[in-house]
């Protein structure tokens, strides 16, 4: 179980980041490179999280694993390309993985 310390520390850090924007002088925004990189950092972290959630070990194992999550993610990508709402995408991915596991074809 994750400690409350980590939960509260992360909450405090995120609030300080929000508040910093309201307290710093506006000229900090003029750094075009800063805002560009910040937007791309969001993209990089989300993409990395997709990779780790899809291929990371089932629990905390170190190796890459290919299982029912891979076809489920493919279904999610198709749903997103067809402009399905977020909840539909998530439910379809979960349903794909659950159905494949129920058949015993993949783990």
């Amino acid at each position: 179980m994750t400690g409350w310390t980590a939960v509260l520390a992360a909450c405090a850090l995120c609030f300080v980041l929000k508040l910093a924007g309201h307290l710093l002088p506006e000229r900090f925004l003029s750094g075009e490179r800063v805002s560009r990189i910040a937007a791309l950092v969001t993209v990089a972290l989300l993409a990395a999280l997709v990779a780790v959630q899809t291929l990371g070990g089932p629990s905390s194992g170190p190796a890459l694993t290919v299982d029912a999550r891979v076809p489920a993610l493919a279904v999610a990508a198709v749903a997103l390309a067809l402009r399905a709402p977020f909840i539909v995408v998530v439910v379809m991915a979960a349903g794909t993985a659950a159905a494949l596991r129920a058949t015993g074809a993949v783990t």
């Binding site: 850090l13 910040a38 937007a39 969001t42 993209v43 972290l45 997709v50 089932p58 991915a93």
Partner: protein, 221 residues
């Protein structure tokens, strides 16, 4: 203010997913709800439970959440002159500074409407987000066994759903591809949580140069 209404349904769906995924990652229901109440920024919250669920260290989880929260600081820089809030109102404004409130706030034509859009959207999302997190967490706590219901795949799909609208620009797609490669390559080699943090470097490297534009005034780096 139509974006607020369609945004409301999306917020409820995100919140339900977040509550369920947080509990599936091993957090308690009160911890899941505390994240929505006190962190209140979706990307960072999903990332925090994602790193925790993958067995990452608490430090890596906090750092990843923080990196995803940097953009809220930039939103704050944008909104502060418009809101001109002081004291407790400024603290409240900071807490409500997220993707949705900034997007609706900056899209309005006049300063009073920008303020109204920001506050209405921020407060509505805050209420919906916390209510749906609680429902998602409680329901999932009762169901149990996340893998049997495919919730591990739902987590991956949730991140893809958050990423998708940010991939319109070519450079963003390049960064995403690079981040996937870096994170996947490092996963067998380093402790969980670090591959995601390392992928942030891809954004710094690829974002450093100005996009397809000559340096103004011929100033070379």
């Amino acid at each position: 203010m139509r974006p607020s209404i369609s945004g409301g349904a999306a917020t409820g769906a995100y919140g339900l997913s977040f509550g369920a995924l947080a509990v599936a990652a091993g957090l308690t229901v009160p911890q899941s709800c505390a994240l929505s109440l006190l962190m209140f920024t979706g990307g960072s919250q999903f990332a925090f439970v994602g790193v925790v669920g993958a067995g990452g260290s608490p430090v890596a989880a906090v750092a990843t959440a923080g990196l995803l929260g940097v953009r809220n600081g930039l939103y704050g820089l944008q909104m502060a002159p418009v809101l001109a809030a002081r004291g407790a109102r400024r603290l409240a404004a900071a807490h409500l500074t997220i993707d949705e409130s900034t997007a609706v706030g900056t899209a309005q034509p006049t300063p009073p409407l920008r303020r109204l859009g920001f506050w209405v959207t921020g407060l509505a999302v805050f209420g919906l987000w916390n209510a749906s997190t609680l429902v998602g967490a409680v329901v999932w706590d009762a169901l149990g066994d996340p893998r049997r219901w495919g919730l591990d795949a739902a987590a991956a799909a949730a991140f893809l759903g958050l990423l998708w609208p940010r991939l319109r620009e070519g450079r963003a797609r390049g960064v995403a591809a690079g981040a996937v490669v870096v994170a996947a390559a490092l996963t067998p080699l380093v402790p969980p949580g670090l591959p995601v943090l390392a992928a942030a470097a891809v954004a710094v490297v690829l974002g450093w140069r100005n996009p397809s534009r000559a340096a103004p005034g011929g100033v070379a780096p």
